[in-house]
Symmetry: C2
Subunit: 450 residues, 2 copies
Amino acid sequence: MSWFYPILFATETQTANPSLVLAGVLLSLVIIYFASKLGGELCSRINLPAVLGELVGGVVIGISALKLLVFPEGGLEATDSLIIQFLQATANLNPGESGLVFESMSEVISVLSELGVIILLFEIGLESDLKELIKVGPSAAIVAVVGVSAPFALGTAGLVYLFGLPVIPSVFAGAALTATSIGITAKVLAELGKLSSTEGQIIIGAAVLDDILGIIVLAVVGSLVKTGEIQVNQIIILIISAGTFLVGTILIGRLISPALVGLVNQMKTRGEVLITGIVFAFILAYVANIIQLEGILGAFAAGLVLAETDKRKELEEQIIPVADLFVPIFFVCVGARTDLGVLNPAIPSNREGLIIASFLIVVAIVGKVVAGFTIFGKPEINKLAIGVGMVPRGEVGLVFAGVGSASGALSPATEAAIIVMVIATTFVAPPLLKLVFKDEVIEKVESEAK
Amino acid sequence: MSWFYPILFATETQTANPSLVLAGVLLSLVIIYFASKLGGELCSRINLPAVLGELVGGVVIGISALKLLVFPEGGLEATDSLIIQFLQATANLNPGESGLVFESMSEVISVLSELGVIILLFEIGLESDLKELIKVGPSAAIVAVVGVSAPFALGTAGLVYLFGLPVIPSVFAGAALTATSIGITAKVLAELGKLSSTEGQIIIGAAVLDDILGIIVLAVVGSLVKTGEIQVNQIIILIISAGTFLVGTILIGRLISPALVGLVNQMKTRGEVLITGIVFAFILAYVANIIQLEGILGAFAAGLVLAETDKRKELEEQIIPVADLFVPIFFVCVGARTDLGVLNPAIPSNREGLIIASFLIVVAIVGKVVAGFTIFGKPEINKLAIGVGMVPRGEVGLVFAGVGSASGALSPATEAAIIVMVIATTFVAPPLLKLVFKDEVIEKVESEAK
């Protein structure tokens, strides 16, 4: 009944009315779920991955189209949000307060979306097989290294020699081509039932490594732009902490997981398995976050460790409804934040960006597909699928664009080109991945028929 | 990777670093789950309801003790939060930014806790039986009306005549005695397996009605204090909208639920039942919220309506893990926000409040127990249990204390007395309820043995 406060006795505070924030969050979630289900159902009916529908659903309700779900970034304000306008019309939100409510509800939705991708990676970890991942480790490592260096080298060189851009922005744009977005790939693989296939595990392994490589590349490029030189110490610390984290969590996790299972078996209250699993995932996500890795890596490691216990099945079953609620928030928000305005060729300033973008898209796809073909000695493997699986750059590429732009290293055209590249690779990968895996299924059926 | 932003290129913005907010939320959730499980497990071992343990766990980590989980209210700042200090020590949070991070993460946890009680009431609605509720409706209505008017009249009269307080603060304190906290009662009933008993349904029905009556009482008292007169129009609108909402949602809900089920049956993507149910609950919660009722009433109505469809079982199963994750956040936050400082008799200024509080506690319990005994013609019913079930006042009473204090109508002693009353009734009700229902079980066993 906290809403009564401001209605009866308006006080001058700097915090937003909690009841209006709650109303805004409820409304945002309703719209997010509508968009995700509408998009997901439409896509699954025309035989495309549902996650593509969630992304497109997000685009439709986001900054590019309906502006139902927008975030206070890129100069957007409360007045740009249709949800805020709706709250003003229906919930007695007065315009003076709308800025605070807009910021608070956007903050909540952003965190929910981050929790969504953390829970997704926890679920992916649970469905992965540590032994299989270790077995494919060397292949995954080669794919990751080639998949980071090939697009980086090709992209940087191309921008310098073909487009005549200065070195710094070229290095930045090249770096933006490196890191795969694990979330989108993993979700598509799960939808296709290919997550536990050898290809699936190589893709996931390579994507995890390549996420870490991407973070290191960003640190290198970032310090290069900021100070003009590479801070070797910082980079070494990052590499050591990343390695220690991945190996350490899995080793320590395997040591303590029997005690964890023992503890859970002692518990009598509701939700003991799920809560323990989630707490474990959140702790590792927190640790990953504070040592400057990504939280999702911690959640993935937690899933991997718990997948080896005898609680795996129970945990997998219980995480499904939770993931069903949280994960769409992430994908819809990625779509909603995507500004398709940079794609409009009618705006003259976009044209230069679009030309650079076409080049970056080609390099982004070719670089990763080439990486897939570096796997040798395994003729039965669908190498094309592995390369395609690494294509989506998602939010990681956008961080490069944002950091580059904030540092002044990137011209608006180059920044727009990076964003277009991210949009294209993210949206093109799900249907492509479905296609290359479908070919494989057909081949298999044909070869079995012979 | 959004954390890279401020580390590489610190920008001067008014929004908190999203990565640090996420880290703070992860840490808060880990602590909340620890407290809820530790408290819940301990309580269930000494045969007390687990929810009491969650409340106590919240008190231990909250403002009264460890200060791990505190909120920016009552003059508390970022420096009071141990989580913020921990973030400063481990996650490179600089003191200048900590205020923003503290506010943002508290906002997120508050909304998650509100979503927790919304999901709890949705689950309670799903487990309730509309036909049974309608059958017990007249009994529930009597219990609600007596349960609101008896403590209101007794409390107000007692404060005026026994304690010589002025009329306005007496009316306020009396009004704070009216509304039951549905959440705590419903959770204890569910834990005892008594939710679908006749007693359980009368308690839930009465608590829902009495929540609405409480809102009306608050509006009456609030406008009385604010303008010196009762704004009859506002009250009439509130009564009409509350009635229309409850009857309307259930009638319209029953009309559209077959279409909703048909729609769900057409869906092919994951989580179709759960998402549709949650969206329905969130929409009704939103509507309840904007017509100045409580969101939980909407969620309860949504659960009631969907309980009548053939998706009930599936929905009940899928909501369990979601509720397991969200609901503890609510109870732990209620505990964490409870300031036991007002209970310390060593502080002289608390003594007057504690004396008034003792009186209020007696009235609060007696008033509701009397209400339980107004049910007649049903000798087989455990009337004591019904009265006890209405005892916890929870957050509703705290809103009265807060509104009264903000309006200047309440002296610090009276405000503290209301808070003590809320604490006592909230914490005493779960074990009492277990006790009165246990007697019944024993009686039943004995009478069956005869």
